[in-house]
Symmetry: C2
Subunit: 255 residues, 2 copies
């Protein structure tokens, strides 16, 4: 099972939109995929048409030692896609794990139990660099960093990269950045173009070729509980996420 | 000193943009104003042209008992506006305060020491409902809730309001919602109009008359370390935040 974390502590940069649409296109291309919603806001859960606070959920996954793997993932409306939904209880994990031994490896250990059930696992992270995001980085083989084409989003990258280095050095030497993904790109503004040029200058080939444009269909789809491929498969939003998945498959399955 | 918290756990909805521009227009209208950056991302700090991780900072404000008030706020480029900058250390507060008595009132107690120095105090919160945001809600007299004109932003409001009720019931009966502020409004999209109508249906007069349009000047200004009134005072972004401040002054000073 290939585990990909979608993380960036900056809020509103497109983590959930990327998680939901990446996972659903991986499923569309025949990969059995599990998405885990690690954010108490439960946006990936509702974006796929499910209620928040179902049980069992991502809190049970991290915190309960006696979980029985077979009954945790829930089917979604997308063929080949299952979800472990979020719950408000995730808010408490930071403090509840603070004195627990091996607290960084809780998620990694539990996801190991699913390794023969799925081809891919996508982890949607909350907007913070706390224990939940660190757990995701410890469990993941790859990291995708959505970068909104805005100044604040660019500014926050150095902190994220320091955390990645820290995790790689201490807990998960196999963690690699699969790529930086430009999101909400508006070709008409100088700011979008400046941010894109800056990102490519720093990270070169680590930037995905695919750029996700600002596309209102992408922000409409969650209100129907649908990923873009079921909401409007012909939209620019759908085409760009489809191209992204082809790049992701090429990068992950090339080795 | 009138304390206003700017909070919403949804990421990227315009909390920092509202904090920085509200505070600078309050200063522009002659109110001595203090802005406190409570987010480890330190966006309000850099949005006003300062470095992150200066000392003393918001972490010292919350955690150090022997702070000497006079030397904490730092002058900004805006006349009448001071800031208590953020630092990466804020990330640790959630765990460090977890077993401390009266942990909800740390910020309130400390801000009390500044009450004769400023007319207004604006608190920029991180994208979470953890102990720092709860501290801000316990310290504040008023709360402004920025709501991006998107589905996920609307969906998260019920959780925020439950937290506000909890804080009001247990810790701060004087806390009131000053208003809901629609941000990044794009009159061309059905989604923006749907969200605006929905918000007004639920909250009526609690919604500010002023709506902040999506305006690229607002997202360019932080890269120069300037609030909108110093970056482009004639832009739609500047005019809308100016109108907001007039509404805020009217609501706060009417009583
Ligand atoms: N390419 C896009 N075009 C238009 N709207 C988008 C695009 N990507 C995301 N959005 C919208 O922007 C908002 C923020 O995106 P999203 O919620 O995916 O970000 P996030 O990083 O997961 O936020 P959080 O930090 O709160 O978890 C959402 O309302 C979403 O629908
Ligand atoms: N009205 C607007 N028009 C255009 N861009 C805007 C507007 N308001 C905010 N922005 C931009 O949108 C992004 C998100 O705004 P901002 O950082 O203020 O939100 P936030 O809620 O503070 O985010 P976080 O949850 O990360 O703290 C920023 O890059 C900002 O420059
Ligand atoms: Mg999200
Ligand atoms: Mg902010």
């Amino acid at each position: 099972m290939r585990i990909i974390a979608i993380a960036n502590q900056k809020g509103g940069v497109g983590k959930t939109t990327t998680s939901v649409n990446l996972a659903s296109f991986l499923a569309f291309y025949g990969r059995k995929t599990l998405i885990v919603d690690l954010d108490a806001q439960a946006n990936a859960t509702s974006g796929l048409g499910l209620e928040a606070d179902l049980t069992p959920n991502a809190y049970n996954l991290i915190m309960d030692d006696d979980i029985y793997v077979n009954n945790i993932p829930i089917e979604t409306r997308v063929k080949n896609l299952w979800i472990i939904p979020a719950t408000i209880d995730l808010v408490g994990v930071e403090v509840e794990l603070s004195n627990v031994k091996d607290r960084h490896f809780k998620l990694r250990e539990k996801l190991g139990r699913f390794k023969n059930m799925f081809d891919y696992c996508v982890l949607d992270c909350p907007p913070s660099l706390g224990i939940i995001t660190v757990n995701a980085l410890c469990a993941a083989r790859w990291l995708i960093v959505p970068v909104q084409c805005e100044y604040y989003a660019l500014e926050g990258l150095s902190r994220l990269l320091r955390t990645v280095e820290l995790v790689r050095g201490r807990y998960n030497p196999g963690l690699e950045i699969l790529g930086f993904l430009l999101t909400m790109f508006d070709s008409r503004t100088k700011l979008s173009n400046d941010v894109a040029n800056e990102l490519r200058r720093y990270f070169g080939k680590k930037c995905f070729e695919t750029v996700i444009p600002r596309n209102v269909k992408l922000s409409e789809a969650p209100s129907f509980g649908l990923p873009i491929l079921l909401y409007d498969a012909k939209s620019q939003g759908a085409l760009s996420y489809k191209n992204l998945v082809l790049e992701v498959i090429e990068r992950c399955e090339r080795v």
